[in-house]
């Protein structure tokens, strides 16, 4: 049959559903390649890379649905379309038989007592919809990105006027009343309240709090731009005040990338008035400034969790910047890896699904390596020319827009990282691949399982070239998460992955290797 496509104008399906349909179709032996998606630029690029971009698909817009496939003669396009229709309809009826309203207004008729609206619609439509939800007195979590900063400002100012939470845009994680929303882990209940402007940073801190025997009261996300000058930390301040007034919360943790100086000052001045202990991790920011306002600054996300747990138990927090295991053992592990490299192997490649975790890696590695390339580098000179190709030492955040428009986030859809892993394994200049593995609600049901084949392939490829590929990872997950934490860790270990107990320790381990070989 060769290459065939089908386009339906003005038909909308969400990207996760379409990913599941694509995956199902790929199981058909006679289908060589297939893509089912909305006509976004990214999906059309993907189609082109797979040799599936027909003229018809080329003309689609992001509001059009398309199918493009390359198959054997035995494949009948009509049958495929029937199967897709059946899969899309199956999705609708198998999960629940409940009535599904088409608008927010009609949803409120079904559930008049609703108190929170969770939005993950395409960002360009978000403003009007979110405004309506706030009008109705609903707290909002806005997962969508591609919302302008002006729109964010207007929505947050309006929410403030109404006293409502406006978490986001681009808010990936929250745990309200112990219910994980969007991407969040199952954390034991306790006395630590978190306000986080960085999604996976917040997930990592909450997971480590759980691991260290602490628990959380609430986790409130703000979206990554809340502490920019244009927004002024509106939501962090509102959330902070709510946690201050909350009886369950005895310790407050604030997490953000370094804020604008005026915003940092505004927040820290408010922190100074608080009677509860406050741990502040302005990742890579000015720690002296934090200390001068009476808060506890942090070295890493792991250190933030350690300090919060210590304070929650009434103990004095201490700095933690090392390894959980004996450092001599760590050094021996490093040496074992280094001994196996060929003389072409020099570089590290970080393949991250979590943005803040990628930032943490970049922050530490830049100190010793100087040049670390990225799709979102610390300084513009290290911006990758082509984000789909690594250069020297590279840390990639696969959750950034260029990888996710019209495609699920890599924590849901591991395919982009699977391909990248193989690519790095075929590059003889690579010594180490560093990665995160984020579990919890929202994430893929078996993210480790999906990666194993590509890890094996990358390692084998390096071995056949006379070298050795080190893969270092940390799992951001708890025993309560829907994925099996123990099985996840075992799968990675069986594939020869070196597992560290936190991202901070994984990065420090890689840093030791890099210091030895560069």
């Amino acid at each position: 049959m060769g290459l065939k496509s089908y386009v339906k104008k003005n038909a909308y399906y969400d990207s996760v559903v379409l990913m599941q349909v694509t995956k199902e179709l790929k199981k058909t032996e006679e289908i060589n390649e297939v893509i089912v998606g909305m006509g976004t630029t990214l999906n059309k690029e993907l189609a082109e890379n797979l040799g599936l971009l027909t003229d018809e698909v080329k003309k689609t817009t992001q509001n059009d649905f398309f199918v493009s496939l390359d198959g054997e003669d035995a494949v009948d396009m009509d049958e495929v379309l029937n199967k897709i229709t059946a899969l899309l309809n199956k999705k609708k009826t198998s999960e629940d038989e409940d009535y599904r309203p088409a608008t927010l207004k009609s949803a409120l008729k079904v559930m008049p007592e609703a108190n929170l609206a969770l939005f993950s619609i395409p960002g360009e439509y978000a403003y009007d919809q979110v405004k309506k939800a706030l009008d109705q007195g609903l707290h909002v979590m806005l997962f969508s990105d591609n919302v302008t900063i002006d729109e964010e400002k207007k929505l947050k100012d309006y929410a403030k006027e109404k006293g409502l939470l406006m978490m986001g845009p681009d808010c990936g994680t929250a745990i309200i009343n112990h219910t994980p929303l969007a991407f969040a882990n199952v954390i034991k209940a306790g006395n630590i309240g978190i306000v986080g402007a960085s999604g996976t940073g917040t997930q990592e801190v909450s997971v480590l709090i759980d691991k260290f025997g602490g628990g959380i009261s609430q986790v409130i996300g703000t979206g990554g731009r809340d502490l920019k000058e244009a927004i002024g930390g509106t939501m962090m301040l509102m959330a902070f005040e709510a946690l201050e007034a909350d009886d369950e919360t005895e310790v407050i943790v604030l997490i953000s990338k370094p804020p604008h100086e005026s915003v940092a000052k505004k927040i820290l001045e408010r922190v100074k008035e608080c009677k509860k202990p406050v741990v502040v991790d302005f990742i890579g920011g000015d720690t002296e400034m934090i200390k001068s306002y009476g808060a506890y600054p942090c070295i890493s996300l792991e250190d933030a969790a350690q300090k919060a747990v210590a304070l929650g138990k009434g103990n004095t927090p201490k700095d933690f910047n090392g390894f959980s295991m004996d450092e001599a053992m760590v050094d021996a592990m490093v040496e074992k890896e280094v001994q196996q490299y060929s003389n072409t192997q020099k570089y590290v490649r970080g393949l991250y699904t979590g943005g803040t975790l990628a930032d943490e890696a970049m922050m530490v590695l830049t100190e010793s390596l100087k040049a670390v390339y990225s799709n979102k580098p610390k300084s513009p000179e290290f911006k990758l020319e082509d984000v789909f190709r690594s250069k020297e030492n590279t840390i990639i955040d696969l959750g950034e827009d260029e990888f996710t428009v019209g495609k699920p986030h890599p924590m849901i859809d591991p395919s982009a990282r699977v391909e990248r892993m193989k690519q790095e394994g075929a590059d003889e200049s690579v010594a180490v691949v560093l990665m995160d593995m984020v579990l919890g609600y929202g994430s893929h049901e078996d993210p480790a399982g999906e990666m194993i084949e590509s890890i094996n392939e990358a390692k084998e490829s390096m071995t056949s070239n006379g070298g050795h590929l080190t893969v270092v990872a940390s799992v951001c997950g708890t025993e309560g998460d829907p994925q099996d934490l123990e099985a996840t860790e075992q799968k990675l270990k069986d594939a020869g992955v070196i597992l560290m107990p936190s991202n901070a320790q994984a990065v420090k381990f890689v840093d030791k290797i890099m210091k030895r070989i560069s």
Binding site: E95, N115, I412
Partner: protein, 55 residues
Amino acid sequence: MSKINELFDSELKVINLGLESFSAELKLQKKQVVHVEWRPVAGGNKKLGSILDQL
């Protein structure tokens, strides 16, 4: 008491607009959620959408 603190004291009841998987996961946790079968109004034509909205 602020509205946010009131939320902390209430049972969480969610309206989900967008990814179906988010509401499916809330259901798995036995949480109350209504999923909105959201589609861009007027096939994504914003101008027409806002006119329809006003009707």
